[in-house]
């Protein structure tokens, strides 16, 4: 009982408990400010650091704690509680945890107050420092900012745990026996935090330009004395700056990390020395550096600026240029570090240059060609000067354009393949119509062959593409295209100036692009020819019967 305790010890004990309570509140609130706490050790005792620990005193917090205690001390049945809750920008609030400093009747009479109790209280504060970083609310508090803020409330008396929801967990920080009772410090925390926090973030997007007086109102009557866990680090040490007795909430002015909880990676990085754009790009940059091919985008834009500007000499030179495209790019673009956004982009570009050379090469060739074949005489004249493979050929063809039945076939061929169709879409000016299509088609064929020489699979793919065309006209075009493909497969390299080809590719192609209709497929208007055909059938059959022996002998030779 108290009789056994000397007055000095009693006085000391009361002082210890009072300051312990105040320091407990400081540790808890500071741990929920949302920033890392740092204090320095001092070997020479200053005399003002209670429990030999450098715990800063935030004046507002001390004020609130003293107000709650109202001159009393935590004792048996009189607990001091710090309630930590979360409040969203929409005004919803949820209790996260309640820290309780309680006292029970179990006394330790033999303990030395001024020495052992003091040291054990110091140990308990250290344990509190460690535990406050472990409960789930810590992570939430580190990410407070736009979407929500963390509030604290200090009350004295009965412990209220109802707001923590079902299934709340309790962790005991520690206990210290004293001659007047055992001080216990524990924390009850809500467990279904993860669900709640995700729900909060899903509902609320980032709020831009938050108004300062948004938080001044008291929305909930039962959350009296709620205070924001924030602290203006500058200039309020003297206790002058804290607001008066009214329960106004303060706005977050310190910079908090605002990244949502799914981006754990980037939020961690935001605490390191900042790199421009690093927080957003760390994840894709990491992907790029480890596996650049994963970020390959189907090649629309990668290739064009990478092509050297000089014109080609003949088709072989063009093949040569295309083949030089992949080795040049990696050397050019991978020298930068993948940490900045710009380089991440170029990495992905060069990645796509490496793996997606074919569509890129196709792309570049056609963007180059489009301008060359605009149907204007002036431009056509200049195309000869460009020393393009078709340059000599182009004006000739266009001059005889009106008379050439190949240029103006009866029916324009529809797209023979999906690729062909997309290539057509690249042509910016389609005024020449067929002529452009011819040259586009030839180019397409040439490029296809270039790659066919490397991969036989492309051939089968092309054949498949071409032969999936439903209409007969397309079939004819496909057939002619395949014929060309086969023809050039047998001749390597294709279309050099010194080729054994008796005629120019263009002429050859156009000739075979629109072959004359198959006689059996031609739709003759007159029914008479049909009738004649039908009548001639018996005669043909008679001839065949006469020669049946010859046919049999022929079949035998085949077997």
């Amino acid at each position: 009982m108290d009789n056994d305790l000397s007055p000095q010890d009693k006085k000391d004990l009361d002082k210890f408990i009072k300051f312990f309570a105040l320091k407990t509140v400081q540790v808890i609130v500071q741990a929920r400010l949302g920033e890392k706490i740092c204090s320095s050790s001092s070997s020479s005792p200053t005399g003002s650091d209670w429990f030999n620990l450098a715990i800063k005193d935030i004046p507002e917090v001390t004020h609130e704690a003293k107000k709650a205690l109202a001159g009393q001390l935590p004792g048996i049945g009189r607990s001091m509680c710090v309630e930590i809750s979360l409040k969203t920008s929409e005004g919803d609030s949820m209790e996260l945890e309640t820290w309780c400093l309680e006292m029970n009747e179990k006394c330790d009479k033999d303990i030395k107050v001024s020495y052992t109790v003091y040291n054990r209280l110091s140990l308990l504060l250290k344990s509190l420092l460690a535990i406050t970083r472990v409960t789930p609310a810590y992570k939430l508090s580190r990410k407070q900012g736009h979407d929500y803020v963390i509030l604290y409330r200090i009350y004295f008396g009965e412990v209220q745990l109802a707001g923590l929801g079902e299934g709340f967990q309790t962790v005991r920080v520690g206990l210290v026996g004293t001659p007047t009772g055992t001080i216990t410090l524990s924390c009850a925390y809500r467990t279904n935090l993860a669900f709640m926090s995700t729900r909060q973030f899903e509902r609320t997007g980032p709020i831009m330009g938050i108004i300062i007086d948004h938080f001044v109102e008291r929305p909930f009557p039962n959350t009296g004395h709620m205070h924001a866990c924030d602290y203006r680090a500058t200039g309020e040490e003297d206790g002058v700056g804290y607001p008066g007795v009214e329960d106004s909430q303060e706005v977050c002015t310190t910079s908090f990390s605002t990244s949502p909880p799914t981006q754990l990676c980037s939020s961690r990085l935001s605490y390191q020395p900042p790199m421009p754009g690093a927080a957003d790009l760390c994840y894709p940059a990491a992907l790029n550096s480890t596996n650049p091919h994963q970020m390959v985008l189907p090649g629309k834009e990668g290739g064009v600026p990478l092509m050297p500007p000089q014109p080609c000499h003949g088709t072989q030179a063009e093949h040569g240029r295309v083949s030089s495209c992949p080795p040049a790019d990696p050397g050019h673009h991978l020298s930068g570090s993948p940490s900045t956004g710009e380089d991440a982009e170029t990495l992905s570009r060069s990645g796509e240059a490496k793996t997606a050379c074919r569509p890129e090469a196709l792309e570049t060739t056609f963007t180059r060609k489009v301008g060359a074949f605009v149907n204007k005489p002036s431009t056509q004249v200049t195309t000869t000067g460009l020393d393009l493979p078709f340059a000599a050929f182009a004006p000739r063809a266009l001059n005889s354009e009106e008379n050439d039945p190949m240029v103006h076939p009866p029916e324009s061929p529809t797209t023979a393949s999906p690729l062909h169709g997309s290539l057509h879409s690249q042509d910016s000016v389609d005024s020449a119509g067929q002529t452009q299509d011819d040259f586009v088609m030839v180019d397409f064929v040439r490029i296809l062959l270039f790659h066919l020489q490397r991969s036989p699979y492309i051939l089968s793919l092309c054949v498949l593409c071409l032969f999936t065309s439903p209409s007969i006209m397309e079939l004819q075009t496909s057939y002619s295209t395949v014929k060309i493909l086969l023809f050039f497969l047998l001749q390597k390299p294709a279309f050099s100036k010194d080729d054994l080809l008796p005629m120019d590719l263009g002429t050859f192609y156009r000739e075979f692009q629109n072959p004359p209709q198959l006689s059996s497929l031609s739709i003759d208007v007159s029914a008479q020819s049909m009738a004649e055909d039908l009548d001639s059938l018996p005669e043909k059959l008679a001839i065949y019967e006469k020669n049946i022996d010859e046919f049999d002998a022929f079949v035998d030779t085949l077997q």
């Binding site: 740092c38 204090s39 070997s43 005792p45 620990l53 460690a130 535990i131 472990v134």
Partner: protein
């Protein structure tokens, strides 16, 4: 007096070993360090102030508190670095144990050297796992963070039992109890040792112990 022995076990990925060990060792040392003693006349002394700082882990979703002492941090990091190196050199098994032992020195008469009597030993068993892809690593970050949180709660629970602690020494005895070499804090005398278990799950020391026991039993 018996030596108190506590064992903590964690499973971490290779790059998390450093931070996990630092987190646990620093948490223990936080509780086992005081401010510098300044002895005054008549056997009284005053104690310096211990500062603390929060350390965020890079590879684990965890923040721990350690004493603000660069010297102590350097010493712990060095020991953890050696442990990590030994772990990685040991082979693909990746199991080891690092021990933090608090001891008292007992002066013996010549020719016997000073005895080191441990009064508390914390053993942290580490199991290194290898993960295949980034998604698993992300899950591992969170899981190991939670596990470390549980270990911190375990440590705090042991500390709060307030079991044996060496008596506060007089000025002449202070070096037998505390490590007074640091200039800003004063932890209890400690030493960090480690052992790597081989792939058979036994360690060299246990094998030796078994051999000696078998020999003595004969």
């Amino acid at each position: 007096m018996n030596c108190r022995s506590e064992v903590l076990e964690v499973s971490v990925e290779g790059r998390q070993v450093d931070e996990a060990m630092l987190a646990l060792l620093h948490t223990i040392l936080l509780h086992r360090s005081t401010g510098k003693f300044h002895y005054k006349k008549e056997g009284t002394y005053s104690i310096g102030t211990v500062g603390t700082q929060d350390i965020d882990c890079d590879f684990i979703d965890f923040t721990f508190v350690r004493v603000s002492s660069e010297e102590l941090d350097r010493a712990i990091r060095k020991a953890v670095g050696e442990f990590k190196e030994a772990l990685s050199n040991s082979g693909s098994d990746g199991m080891g144990q690092i021990s933090l032992e608090f001891y008292q020195k007992k002066k013996s008469r010549w020719p016997f050297s000073d005895e080191c009597i441990p009064w508390e030993v914390w053993s942290i068993k580490v199991n290194v796992v290898n993960l295949a892809n980034e998604q698993e690593r992300q899950i591992c970050r969170e899981k190991v963070g939670e596990k470390l949180g549980e270990k911190v709660i375990n440590i705090v629970e042991v500390i709060s039992r307030h079991e044996y602690l060496p008596k506060m020494p007089t000025q002449s005895e202070v070096d037998n109890v505390f490590d007074t070499s640091l200039k800003d804090v004063q932890p209890y005398l400690y030493k960090i040792t480690y052992q790597i278990t081989d792939s058979l799950g036994t360690s060299v020391s246990t094998t030796m112990r078994r051999l000696i026991k078998d020999t003595l039993a004969l």
